[in-house]
Symmetry: D3
């Protein structure tokens, strides 16, 4: 079932059950800190998974015991980053370069959100900075008890610009709490993340969390891909549009989607108590 062309230096892509892909961030010796090549690859991976007919659900996890990711590899960024490259330009020209750079970075992370298949994030250990930017793009977030989260960017002198400040206020976690953790850059733990609703579940260990994510992803992958992917699409659309627009959008989408054979297959299997089979999408 596994596909051959998912080979990347800092990511392991596996297929732990039918129609389920698992993306593992794999630079554990550096606490899975991100260098530019990594976010470029991450974008490519999720764009590929998005249209791969053999994939119906995705898990995002990270290698090693210590960290999901410590965030941006600050040392690498300060040596090779866009600021270093535009040293002699005037501030306006520097600004243009920086902006292009940020927009490209954002596009690669946004690929997770735009992946047509549902994505389950499994966090553990240090989950700082980019960890929030990435997982707030995922559909469902769960974590191990040892997870330590932080919207870290203020402490390196900047406002988080890869998505956290834009998406977290729309994740329906209390705004007073959101502002506190974004403005103070303080750590919060798994219990707090569960209480405010940033994660849906906390497991006792990374492996327990992965097991739970795999069960969930396998369940999602067993359902009609037409139904699951349409559901994800409308949930994301609704977040950014009025109710009137959202109702029109789902009516328009379902005007084609209800013509699928999956409805009949799903109903029959419900009546006959057997597992339905759905064609590739």
């Amino acid at each position: 079932m596994a596909s051959a062309n998912y080979t990347y230096e800092h990511f392991n892509i596996t297929f732990p059950s039918q129609y389920v892909a698992q993306v593992e961030i794999a630079r554990p010796q550096k606490l899975n800190a991100f260098i530019e090549q990594m976010w470029t690859d991450l974008g490519a991976i999720f764009r590929k998974l998005s249209v791969d007919p053999d994939v119906r659900a995705v898990i995002l996890t990270a290698a090693g015991d210590r960290a999901f990711t410590s965030g941006l590899d600050v040392q690498a960024a300060s040596q090779n980053g866009v600021l270093a490259q535009t040293e002699h330009a005037d501030p306006a020209r520097k600004a243009l370069s920086i902006r292009r750079h940020i927009l490209e970075f954002q596009r690669d992370i946004t690929a997770i959100e735009e992946c047509e298949k549902p994505v389950v994030a499994v966090m553990h250990g240090i989950s700082y900075g980019l960890a929030i930017d990435m997982t707030v793009c995922c559909d469902i977030r769960i974590c191990a008890e040892d997870t330590r989260f932080s919207v870290r960017e203020v402490d390196i002198g900047l406002a988080a610009d890869i998505g956290t400040l834009t998406r977290l206020p729309k994740a329906n976690v209390p705004l007073s709490w959101t502002k506190e953790v974004c403005l103070t850059a303080r750590d919060f733990d798994a219990g707090e993340a569960l209480r405010v609703g940033f994660v849906s579940a906390v497991c006792e260990s990374k492996s327990a969390a992965l097991k739970k994510a795999l069960e969930m992803a396998t369940l999602l992958a067993s359902k009609s891909p037409v139904a699951v992917q349409s559901t994800k699409q409308i949930l994301n659309y609704s977040r950014d549009h009025s109710v009137a627009d959202g109702l029109n959008q789902i009516a328009l989408l379902n005007s084609a989607m209800l013509q699928t054979k999956d409805v009949e297959a799903a109903m029959l299997s419900g009546l006959k108590k057997r597992k339905p089979t759905f064609a590739k999408l």
Copy 2:
């Protein structure tokens, strides 16, 4: 106090206290499953309540012990539905028919949200599919301890298209949880619904929940209808508009509403510790 012209085959409309109407879904032998006539009637009922000067608060409940509603009557839908009627059309023409059908269905359910009076939902037992679409249109949701909820649609091969996927992301319950229950179609119980904030209160039984709802509706009905209905209107408006637009809207609305005699009546009754009387609206 009761009005005569609220007679419907599958709904009982009663007036349990002054200015309070109670709408009971009444097809208990079929777990209150919905056939097309029912949502057409439901829309008509709420459009009538919306402008009835004798009504200031509404309760939505359902007959029988087992279910608030099991959702769409799938069997009926597959026999008489829009798909059956357009069998010979090409997919584009089918799509147009389906879309019109969905939009009409949505309009009838949206009538609950657009009702000018506050609506309190009281759920119990099986509360699947359409149960969520309808109650997420209500202003306040409470339930009995035995309630079992599910956004069931994915399991019949389709994305929920009557409002759940559009309104639930705006009900300010955590988005990670919302996506999980919508994508997996799993059950959740009253305790979970309370913890995430989908319901405001859980009572030990259906009758206790109804009692609480009646107290709440009676309280709402005792207040200035100008104040209560303006409050509902602005809360709904604000959900879908920017803060700047929302502030302008309430300023414009109150430019007329503050000319009511209710303000004086309310203040006097506050000072004199007696119950105020407010003219019909």
Copy 3:
């Protein structure tokens, strides 16, 4: 560190630690009820703090043990308010006057939200009506255990028009709860406020809450003002715009902000474990 020109009849402005301003509502003999001069002054104070280079974080609190504020001074409003002044105009002309009056009132309260520096609200005792309008404009809300909150306006015959009904549905507290407290005008206590996420923390007393707020504000004031103020700005922007617009906005903002010297200072201090110094903004 204190500035001389912050003298107002009903507000005490102090500077309890470096770069931290504290605004105390000071009409305790009247439960800190607001008369028109007070909201005009409040707007002026926050507009001044917004551009004062010696201020990087603000605390909003209130004098006395009994109340943060009981809200609008209703007696004063009924004697001198806009309705009294336009007695002989026709309803259209009255409406225009009322609307101008509400918009000005809103502008003064909105000055809290538009203050470029983060604002921490510390509530205690009676916190009714305007207390919610004001603190929902603050970034972080904490309170003492004895706080009694209420969106009181419905009980004086009107819909709250100074911001509560517009901003509370966007504070990411459950909408069913929000509607219940706005429509019923019932009291809720500190525990409930914490549970739904309206406040981020509850302290055992007003003085404990003030101590916590001061620590938080001092922490915020010690960080790069470029980073902190950009973070606040984007969080507020994101609440009212789509994710696509939000991402563009932070990319554009950071195209200039990343050219600050604060990033280098923050990184160095991180490496060298010493406290960084940031230039005034």
Copy 4:
């Protein structure tokens, strides 16, 4: 080809060519001035035409030589209107009644815009007030040389509230001109209407304009109804949404519409130079 059930006291509905319906306002002895029954009927007519499979294009015209319409029948309105009915209510309660009344009136006129089929307006003679509200809802506007237009409402002491002030700024006629004619209520003639683009064509007489409209409607009715109705839908959608939203909408719509047999029929007929036939929609 004509349908039987289009009988209305003040409207003549005819079917002058295949798939073309013509709606004629018919109260010429009163300059086609509108009383309440008329706009209620107009709404009903266009909602019926919208879903009538025998109709693919609509013409809106008016009986008599002197006027398309002089607008609202002011005398009737002042005797039976909503203001008369709410005489004893307080200004807030009156406002609520007035608002409901305006919204219903708007809904009936908006039915023209929401008609799924393209509508061609043919104006002549006096075309005041409601004439603009109605025809700005039509897709294509043409007129006779003798037409005298006016956004008349300011001269009866009110702002036009049935759509002109909302839709005219979006009809892409110069805004300086739009504001001048709306604020001054001055007349403008056919030549001016053509020059600014309010109408697409001017014909020498009412009958010539009707002939041109019939040719245009017949042409529209001869084309694929899937193509024509989708085109109308997206043009209307785009007016009120961003380009990004508009592109997504047409992609979603066409994902079903391109599965029609009309594309093949249209292409073949293009190659073979014969007239295609399209199934009913």
Copy 5:
């Protein structure tokens, strides 16, 4: 009829007919070029006119024969401007100062648009840069034949930031033309301005244009101020909102405005052919 408190160094405020105010830019020796004090004063003037019950229409014109205005006084700006003041700050801190400065400048020009009374712009001679920013805020634009317009900013190395690039695309003049004149900074004359619709009328001389503007303003001032000001308000609102929002807004506004006595006065005067009198607003 004239008010006493409209005295400004670089503006002459006169009252040429009943309820009509005329604002004349008066720095003709410098081609009416703007220094900071001038836009601050301009904002103050229009905010005052907006609420002055003796004013119902405003004319904006400029002193001298040669220029309406040559735009920003570039020499003054380069000596005292915000860039000079922040010389030693880092680019991020400079950016913050510049931004505050632009926003304040914009607010003063936007005061023209936000003036509740209609504003007629009369341009002549050189009308460069700020001339476009200001007059695109006016409701109706007319000009003398000798007017030479230019969106000049690109030629001093910057994008126009006081409103032209934001409002001109919404003035319903062809976008291809708009972009050409904004990108090339080329001159265009009165004839071209009329042809594309930027101005509504061209007169043979400045004095003829002023005469026409005075007639128009006098006409506007003779009508119901409730009707005129509501009309302006909704036209501006509609430009930036969807049709659905616009229809709701005018329904809400008119729910109070139709309770005016002006409707009766206007109707009676229409029947009796005499000039109506309307109370102050």
Copy 6:
């Protein structure tokens, strides 16, 4: 000045003057009809030009005398298109494939609009279908006298889905005219295109139009690229956002852009009447 890496089978990229690139569609033997490879290449070309520091203005033209483009190569599309590839899928699965295909097609055409440099379109001869989709993405449109335009799609049984129906209603050409040409698919000529404002200028021949475009592009390329590109950006942004959002956007953009050295260079050159030099961007 020319760059080496702009080689494409069906496009000729040349550099006719300093900083000016010219993109010529080059499939004249097929009336420049588009096959899939061509729009993929077109997207790539404009994305490259967008960030090429040697390019400051772009001309879009087409080879041969007969046509700018006749639009989509319908024959090729029907043989290799997405419909052919998904023959055996159910209508829902087909819809998903079609939608992905349209979105990719749109993205490539949108690359013209997103190009950071201004683009001048020069049309001639047959300019059908895709000709409108592409040039409505350009900033300035001019054409030869012999141009014959048509929004052709309705005549092949479909609604135009690559941008025309979305962008033309926002090009500020009269909406009645826009709907007429989109719904009827009729031809219109250069004179009509100029009269409604779809093009800014008509030249007597293709070569005269190209000459004019080159002068215009050369002029644009001689100006500050900071000023020109910021101007384009804000004009595009403003089309899709409210005035309030537009003003904030340009204030934020200019907070960095005004720190350019171009302002000083432009001003000096203005004073000294010599041509300024601007650094690459």
